[in-house]
């Protein structure tokens, strides 16, 4: 796919299709993707009991933007059907301090999903994201970049291996500043009998000032021997030796800090195929992380 966006949906109390190539179908709250395409979903306000189900039968480039206009709850479900190859980019662009509660269940059959979440939003949030790897060959990659600046955020991200030969990897990165707080719980679960599965996770938070609170907790719950599992977690200050290296090349300490922190989030860009969105996100990072 060339990165063009072929379908646009806005959720503003109801589901409106703004643009479509007819490769997606909407039946009640169910968005069905049956042919390879790309889709952008913009969330403005969610009506009660109007949660979405995405049924993805084919390759999809999926972009989701939160631009909420009030406190919001999402309870979405994603069914990733066999052979689908899904590339997903989710960004919280909400600019006011609303409360978000997001629950995502992603059911992955013998398919591949790569998901990046970039949350530089001003909201407080409590998010629960679960990837259920249901059949052999199921593979999920998750990459989180979250900034908590003067807000309270909590992310539970789970990779649930529910069959043998499944693969899950997540890299969760956070930055906390301006007395913000952030908790990241990374959960890797391999059920009994799910041999030859791989689950890996890294959770890393950089804390800018003393008034911030941060926790990065890795959980590995493995009930099977023949598996490959790893985890890592750290909470710390920005590395002074990295800063020294950059400063020794002439960058001021402010410039060096900005580069390191932008670098922290930059890998989410690799999940974006659309050039325009890629560019916007680069600019947004410069503005939010540096400014």
């Amino acid at each position: 796919m060339d990165g063009a966006i072929n379908n646009v949906i806005v959720i503003d109390n109801e589901i409106s299709i703004i643009e479509t190539d007819n490769k997606i179908k909407i039946v009640n709250n169910n968005i069905i993707v049956s042919q390879p395409t790309s889709l952008k979903v913009v969330y403005k306000s969610i009506p009660d009991c109007k949660n979405l189900v995405f049924t993805v039968v084919s390759d999809l480039d999926l972009y989701e933007f939160y631009e909420f206009e009030g406190d919001s709850n999402i309870e979405n479900e994603y069914q990733i059907e066999p052979q689908a190859n899904v590339n997903r980019y989710v960004e919280n662009r909400t600019s006011e301090k609303f409360a978000l509660n997001i629950e995502e269940t992603v059911n992955v059959k013998d398919a591949l999903i790569r998901s990046a979440y970039l949350d530089l939003g001003a909201t407080n949030c409590e998010n629960k994201i679960s990837y259920n790897l249901l059949t052999p060959g199921g593979e999920a990659h998750v990459h989180l970049g979250v900034l908590s600046s003067n807000s309270k955020k909590k992310y539970d991200i789970a990779l649930n291996h529910l069959n043998h030969h499944t693969y899950g990897n997540m890299d969760n990165y956070g930055i906390v500043k301006n007395a913000g707080s952030l908790i990241i719980n990374g959960i890797g679960k391999i059920a009994k009998g799910c041999s030859k599965s791989n689950t890996h996770q890294i959770n890393k938070i950089i804390v800018f000032d003393k008034k911030c609170q941060a926790q990065a907790n890795p959980y590995l719950l493995v009930d099977e021997y023949d598996v490959n599992a790893s985890h890592g977690a750290s909470v710390g200050k920005i590395d002074d030796q990295q800063l020294f290296y950059l400063q020794s090349r002439g960058l001021t300490s402010q410039q060096a800090m900005s580069l390191v922190t932008i670098g922290y989030f930059m890998p989410v860009i690799n999940y974006i195929k659309n050039e325009k969105i890629k560019e916007d996100v680069g600019e947004l990072l410069n503005e939010k992380v540096v400014g």
């Binding site: 030796q241 020294f244 950059l246 020794s248 090349r249 002439g250 960058l251 390191v260 932008i262 890998p267």
Partner: protein, 269 residues
């Protein structure tokens, strides 16, 4: 013209006394070899000159053209013409080599370098150092082999054109061909307005880049200095003669020099 004067320098790391009174003067057009067994303070000396916050000066002075260097921030030192190719260059994931290099070049210019000129300079240096063509787009040192990291330090030196270039074990991790390329790049940088300080254990390095002065640091002090003949002395005799001077030889067990590019990661584990 940059003149560096170090007088009676004492330095501590994490409360441990490392340098115990170093005196050194570096003038333009000079190349100083700093030798000595592992763990005796060579990197400490160079890192302190560059301003690494881990290293605390407890006594003595460092002056650059009469200015107190110790009061200057690290980036000011860089802009004043100092450069340190580090023994263990940092990895900065997420920051592309080209973004970093452009920021570093712009840091010492009034007007930002044009993209065209930057790419031309960078590509020229990459070709000359026989580095990965894709280098500019890779994250800074992230996942680089030991040899690639060392060449990347030389690349930065070429682009930043410092007055005083300090190269810390630039030859470790390089195979013979890479060493020759790096030595040539260093020799091309030699000129009457520039000086260098080179830390290495190996005679072959100092055969390729001939020093004008040689200093041997043991246990935080310079125990011997002179001309290139000292390199040969150490190559044939090692450092045992130091004991006869009544000075204790410190041996750093953990850090052994690594010679071959393909075992460059061995030191980490």
């Amino acid at each position: 013209m940059a003149v560096l004067k170090i007088k009676n320098l004492h330095v501590e790391v994490e409360g441990k006394k490392i340098l115990k009174g170093v005196n050194l003067e570096i003038n333009p057009n000079e190349v100083h070899a700093i030798m000595g067994p592992n763990g005796n303070g060579k990197s400490t000396l160079l890192s302190t000159i560059m301003g690494n916050p881990k290293y605390i000066v407890t006594e003595g002075s460092i002056e650059l053209d009469g200015k107190d260097l110790i009061q200057m921030s690290v980036d000011e030192r860089s802009k004043a013409g100092l450069f340190l190719a580090m023994q263990y260059p940092q990895e900065i994931p997420g920051v592309t080599t080209s973004d970093f290099l452009r920021a570093a070049m712009n840091a010492r210019r009034e007007k930002p370098i044009s993209l065209f000129k930057f790419i031309k300079e960078l590509d020229g240096a990459i070709t000359e150092l026989k580095m990965d063509e894709n280098l500019a787009h890779r994250y800074l040192n992230a996942g680089f082999s030991g040899g690639e990291k060392k060449r990347n330090e030389i690349l930065q030196m070429k682009l930043l054109q410092p007055q005083i270039a300090m190269l810390d074990e630039i030859d470790s991790g390089l195979d013979v061909d890479a060493l020759r390329i790096v030595a040539q790049a260093i020799n091309e940088m030699r000129d009457e307005n520039r000086s260098m300080m080179l830390v290495s254990h190996y005679e072959r390095m100092f055969k390729l880049v001939e020093p004008t002065h040689v200093h041997v640091i043991v246990n935080g002090v310079i125990v011997l200095e002179g001309g290139p003949e000292i390199v040969d002395k150490i190559d044939t005799e090692g450092y045992d003669w130091v004991k006869e001077l009544g000075i204790e030889l410190l041996q750093d067990e953990e850090r052994k020099p690594i010679l071959l590019e393909n075992c460059a990661h061995a030191g980490k584990f």
